[in-house]
Amino acid sequence: MAGGAPTPTEYVKHHITNLSVGDGLWTFHLDTLVVSFVLGVFFLSFFVLAARRATAGVPGKLQNFVEMLVDFVDTSVKDSFHGPREFVAPLALTIFAWVFLWNIMDLIPVDYLPLFSFKVLGLDYTRVVPSADINAPFGLSITVLLIIIFYAIKGKGVGGYGKELLHHPFGSSPFLWPANLLLNIVELIAKPVSLALRLFGNLYAAELIFVLIALLPWWVQFLPGGIWAIFHILVIPLQAFIFMTLTIVYISLAYEDH
């Protein structure tokens, strides 16, 4: 969008470049941060409003909708996690709602918001799908990793968890400790990585396909665009649900003895 007619390569590259501040690893992707924050505030204010007005009597439409979500998440958590749910269930709800809203940003036609922020706000780059920026899913999944470790210690105690790290899966002989520990660490790291990459991969690919469709002549875009969008409507809640469910399962595995 930065002046002149871009070549296809320039166009695609432009679409997958974040609005950044700072250098190297300490770069801040402002678009990801702002968009995901706004989305989070949006669903939270929505939920808080419903919770404020919550009544045990006949629920309104808003309350009905939110209660449906709460019930759905609560059931999902109940199915795989058998410990206390005061923290895990809200965590699951937050993940589901937030990731869902991240993903749904993919359905906004790819040029609308970047064009808006360029023309109105004067920003050169804007990526509106937080889940297609690897840092957002990783931010989530690394937090989830910390929660998993916290729950492992909470469920088994520091000693118990340490013992599990050293003794499983091969055996408790001290000669096997390094191998056990290595394997457990790999397993532990694989969890957030797989969580984040699954979400990122799906949404990044989807975004890229929307960008590619946008390169087609305008009169034919509706056909592949429409088909891809309809397919994507399935992916959006599915990925949010998978992220949520796997988080619960991981916490449950960490919390309970196998």
């Binding site: 974040n18 950044s20 700072g22 690893l25 300490w26 770069t27 801040f28 992707h29 990801t32 941060l33 995901s36 924050f37 989070g40 939270l44 939920f47 808080v48 419903a50 919770a51 404020r52 919550a54 009544t55 045990a56 009597g57 629920p59 309350q63 939110v66 209660e67 709460v70 019930d71 609560d74 005061e86 923290f87 269930a89 809200p90 965590l91 709800l93 937050t94 937030w98 937080p130 920026d133 690897i134 840092n135 957002a136 990783f138 931010g139 989530l140 690394i142 937090t143 990122f200 990044y204």
Partner: protein
């Protein structure tokens, strides 16, 4: 795919804050409201069950009362019809007694009248006989002297 620690930490922090908000302000009131509603519904259902039982009980009771009333009514009708029959019977008996009494009285009267007539006739016949006999024998018969003969004659009539 460019990793940016700043974004990552920013996202993680935002995430934690959001979880906290959800845990503090969203989840408990909603779950509580849902639980309360569930209890209310359960209570309502229990009450409706109870009401149904009470209704069934009342219905059974009502049926019993109706049955009893029906039996009573039948008894009353029976009694009334008996009483009616009795009254009719009584009235008939009375009527028949009255009739018999009246017939008897009438017969008595008739008998009396017959006797009187017979008596009168008898006297008249005695007179006639005396008159007749005196005419036959052209001689006055002393009525007083021959009274017993005349009476005997009259008796034979």
């Amino acid at each position: 795919m460019d990793l940016s620690i700043g974004t990552l930490i920013g996202q993680a922090g935002t995430f934690l804050v959001f979880i906290w908000v959800t845990m503090k302000f969203v989840w408990p009131p909603l779950v509580q409201a849902m639980e309360e509603r569930r209890q209310k519904i359960a209570e309502g259902l229990a009450q409706s069950d109870e009401a149904e039982k009470v209704l069934a009980h009342a219905q059974a009771e009502a049926e019993g009362i109706i049955k009893e009333a029906r039996v009573k009514a039948g008894d009353i009708i029976e009694q009334a019809s008996q009483r009616g029959n009795q009254m009719i019977e009584q009235a008939r008996e009375e009527a028949m007694a009255e009739q018999a009494r009246r017939v008897e009285a009438a017969e008595g009267e008739i008998r009396q009248a017959t006797n009187q007539a017979r008596e009168a006739l008898r006297e008249r016949v005695a007179e006639l006989a005396v008159t007749g006999a005196s005419r036959v024998i052209e001689k006055e018969i002393d009525a007083a002297k021959h009274r017993d003969i005349l009476d005997k004659l009259a008796q034979e009539l």
